[in-house]
Symmetry: D2
């Protein structure tokens, strides 16, 4: 009775692997879904490599030109897992072909591009979502529930950062397959689009719209060898970016991202302080949610570490038993489950393109403020 949903994957890198794993696992753990993803085709420019990827993961076929893939009648949904500068073109073609689209984040390089993409999927009427996967970490979903239930009261502060240390060495090249994230042509920006966009998506989801920003960006290593050309070239991306902001609800925001924070691998954390309660989370310990409640029982007030593994926690009744952890990849499984569920219910799967465009607008304002050294309003 379960309906197949034929996936056409564009890309065979790190994210393609994470998404493919999610497609393969989702029905095992979410047996009540009405749809089952089918690995119909994978596409990449390097025929040998894309075939190897397809064989390893069980794709039924492969393509070397995404234009062919997006038009194939046996494809229901296109998953875009390629560098950011290719998102728009592929999305527009896929929408035109009437395909559903699951697009890797960030949505686009510019807000203008993003708007085109939104209009394309909306006028085509195709289901669409952007892989801001962290919303589906159970601890973050729980945070959302706690906030929405009103437990925190008026919000005063929201902070988030995403700290890494993998580009400290000046020997890391820019460009190429493995390090396109350091190439401004392919990536558009550095940490802002790659890492801060996750922080911003989470912030908008948990705390609402951002009004204005004042940012500071920095490129610590000014030149790097390009992986394709072997030439030393100026580095065009932001190595680090921090910004202050005001949220529409009156709270203050602080955000930071860098790839030069020695000792941190993927330290995505956020904290939100409300009148009555506060919440903290850290990707390195993703099963835990820190929670402080200013309750009446004052003698036992303290920050709690909630191990989000109980069956009553978001998504967790699908996995193991209390105390047993899940990992990074499960957030993708949850997003696929929710995407399939949304198809059944005929509702958008958040964040859809339109929602992700908000994140894009903040990123763009941040980059602009970093250049002009002025506060920039978000339209």
């Amino acid at each position: 009775m379960i309906k197949p949903l034929a996936i056409g994957m564009v890309g065979y890198g790190f994210m393609a692997r994470a998404h493919t794993n999610a497609y393969k696992r989702v029905n095992d753990f979410f047996p009540d879904l009405a749809y089952r993803p089918v690995l119909q085709a994978v596409c990449g420019r390097d025929a040998e490599k894309v075939k190897a990827f397809g064989d390893q993961w069980g794709y039924a076929s492969h393509e070397t030109d995404w234009r062919s893939l997006v038009c194939r009648p046996d494809i229901d949904a296109v998953d875009i897992c390629v560098p950011n500068n290719l998102h728009k073109e592929i999305a527009l073609a896929a929408a035109a072909a009437g395909k559903m689209i699951l697009c890797e984040k960030p949505l686009s390089i510019t807000t203008a591009e993003g708007k085109e993409m939104c209009e394309a999927v909306e006028s085509a009427g195709v289901a669409n979502t952007v892989w801001y996967n962290y919303r589906r970490i159970p601890a973050i979903t729980l945070a959302k529930q706690l906030i929405d239930s009103g437990r925190l009261g008026r919000i005063y502060h929201f902070r988030a950062n995403f700290l890494q240390d993998w580009t400290i060495s000046s020997d890391v090249p820019q460009g190429g397959t493995a390090t396109w994230r350091l190439d401004s042509t392919a990536a558009g920006s550095g940490v802002t689009g790659d890492l801060l966009s996750h922080c911003i998506d989470t912030a908008l989801w948990l705390n609402g719209k951002i009004k204005d920003v004042s940012a500071m960006t920095e490129t610590f290593v000014k030149e790097r060898v390009h992986a394709d050309t072997g030439q030393v070239q100026p580095v065009g991306i932001d190595d680090a970016c921090a910004f202050l902001c005001h949220f529409e609800n009156g709270s203050l925001g602080m955000f930071e991202s860098t790839r030069y924070a020695r000792g941190h691998k993927a330290l995505f954390t956020f904290e939100i302080n409300g009148e009555n309660a506060s919440i903290r989370w850290d990707l390195h310990d993703l099963n835990r949610l820190e929670y402080f409640e200013h309750g009446k029982d004052s003698i036992v007030r303290g920050w709690r570490t909630i191990h989000v593994t109980e069956g009553e926690m978001p998504y967790m009744n699908h996995w193991w038993v209390p105390g047993l952890s899940i990992g990074y990849e499960h957030s993708f499984v949850h997003q696929v489950a929710d995407f399939l569920g949304s198809l059944e219910q005929g509702e958008p799967c958040q964040p859809d393109f339109r929602s992700a465009l908000q994140t894009q607008a903040v990123c763009e304002a941040v980059l602009q403020s970093g250049k002009t050294r002025e506060w920039v309003s978000i339209k």
Copy 2:
């Protein structure tokens, strides 16, 4: 070129789910293996339930009598995921049929049974392993490497515990499908076989043999309703068990397990103190290994928390990138990968039955000491 390995799964409960997931995922993440598990058949007494399980997970067929299953010529390996009191009989039959055996822990209820099982698989010459999966948590495997490299020097102390809180309520029944672990007939013992056996397996692996034990066992809730009969019956299992011991290497051991430690869901932890360094680990934060080294740089000595997610860490180059966590289920994937690798190399996959028999002997001595209130030597 990859060879199929046809799995016959006996049982469809929690552990069958964990193992099945591992069989399905292993080749995606370990693409160089020479074998590929095939879900050939699953077996359970309840035809409807076993069929539903098989359909959900993709088993090609199902059986309701394990005697049929273990004799099927299309089965290469039998996976035993049923209550402990059935392990021996199934294992003996499977060995007699020349099947490989992957047996859920603990190996058996008694050491005598365990010996029979060892002799059966050894005389049949079939590959065999016991699912003490925690050895394959990367942080624990790393601990093993650190210890074996001699960094710790002479060992003085080993401590381990496994604390849970799920049976505090006297409303939890004993027996039946979901709570057979509280039924002494099905389980043989309570926390000793279920939880302490994990601690002991890890201890023997990391710190060598145990010479003698002095134990204390307790049953806090003396009577419970039986899930099958509805009758209130005496509880025959140990709700809690703690023991002191001497290791053959001269170090002292302390072990404890309980299901009455409020606030702990699956707090499996261990600590080992050596002359030059110490190590700690905690299942609730399974990607982390705590490490203290008494190095010459005295001004910066401290306990380190190693986030075991770098590609150079055990197993981790098969997964994501530094900083991104894996979860509980991955330990099973690793065990399957190692089992398949061991087939290729013609070597035992540890712990095999013979190795797991050591754990059984310690468990038996512990239970005996708990009754006699005397120190008991391990033969």
Copy 3:
């Protein structure tokens, strides 16, 4: 109006320093006390050293013979800060002279000695207390309040340990002034009297009487140079000691102490698990109390870390403001404050000698069990 209380301090080592500091500070922070300690005299065999100590800390006089000190009419209270083998004789003389006694822990070397001491102070009718100072760490006092209020319900488990690493090197001597704790003549026992006694005092206070024990003791370094004689001599103390026990309230206990746990300096921790709540504490972070409550609001259950610095917490309104820590030495100030308060109220200051005798009885049973390898009942 405030009454002077003339202190005669016997000893000028580490503990004498901690007590003297407490006497000097108590009235600054507890201004409502009816008594004020006066540093009347300090006593030690080495005239030069004791004078230097007295001058540094402001003692009005010094003595080289404790027999003279305890008889001086200008002394109200004798503080015994000398090796354990001298406690009894001094206490008996002080009691005979009608002096109040503040005795460093452990009370005595044997229970028999301890009984004599109890009888002496009781027949003399002099105020007496033993410096089990950790009861007055605010976090531990708070734990006592939480337990006494019934929040934990039925108690299942109590665990405590005291782990150090300072005697791992075999170059550490035994005996002499600085290392008398390694000399069995002066100390009576090793970690049992020195460290486990603190764990036991806390356990008896928080969880009630212990019925029986099964212990394991070990001496890792069998011979050490004696600091006085320069001779290599057999080591008579226990380097490590662990024991299992039953409490009278039906809960199970596990205790451990060692000076061979690399990486731990003074890791005194305890944990108590009750039906409804659990508590943990750690001397290394003494301002924090960990607390888990199995409350109805199940979605936010978690271990809380209570930073015990609010004015409503025990003793803390005498110090700074919320968030600002106190340290180790404050526990002694609190004990002096409580001792002075008890004088005003005419009540014993706990633990008095009689109460500390219970701890002594457990220590003695533990050492006996370590030798006999049998369970030993506490009378």
Copy 4:
């Protein structure tokens, strides 16, 4: 042989208490100092209260007019512990009278005032220091040593914050004795002068000068009752303040302070990321320093928690033994010890007024940027 240093304390509030305690304790724990503070006089407008304070703490006399105090010939050093708006006038008078000055932080309300104060003490040639006491927390002093030794290499990031939650309730008044910190007339600013100034002092000490800032300030509660008048009045202080900055060494800074971060009492933390190592610290656990070193032994890289209690750590040989904590108040004892030591050596005790003026300049730029919404350069 030890020389008396007669202290004239202006103020009898919280800080006067902390300083007085330090004067009384310093020679007990630092017996080799050449000076001994003597509590000569305390001054406050309320005769009854100042007398009570003086009696409790042992001051030899009291005054109700600071003008009298600073001219008394029996006073060597004036300690200024009154609201910020009084610092300048008292300091100028004390300098004119040739007194040494120990001034509570922040130095002044404006930089202009601060310059006058610097010129006054410099032209008078009197010893002077500002109570930025946190520099003398041993863990922070250790951080300074690690940084100065070059272990961190090139610095990329410095972050600090100071989060509290005590003014969330709109019932907290402004002004008066207990809450003058909420009154802009008395305090000059809110969290910027009170809390961020500590973060900035630490940052300048550890990471060098700040070039420019972009700040955001907020007053969440717009009106409060004034404690003196009982009138509801507009709130003039900043409830929260955050800023971005560039350091002269090329690193990026982020700072934040608020009294609206529910769950945090005095969460002063900082983190510094260098090419080769990183450091973190947190006032709530002040005895610990977190340290990450990107060493060659890659398999055991991790954040270390250094328990800064060993005798070789800064200041710690004056206190107890490894593992035993000190608290907040000890930082003041250390500052007094260093001040007395600096007198002996004829060198300034840092931070002196001139050094603290740098912090003032940053605070002023921050407040200005908060108003103008522009980047402001520090002269």
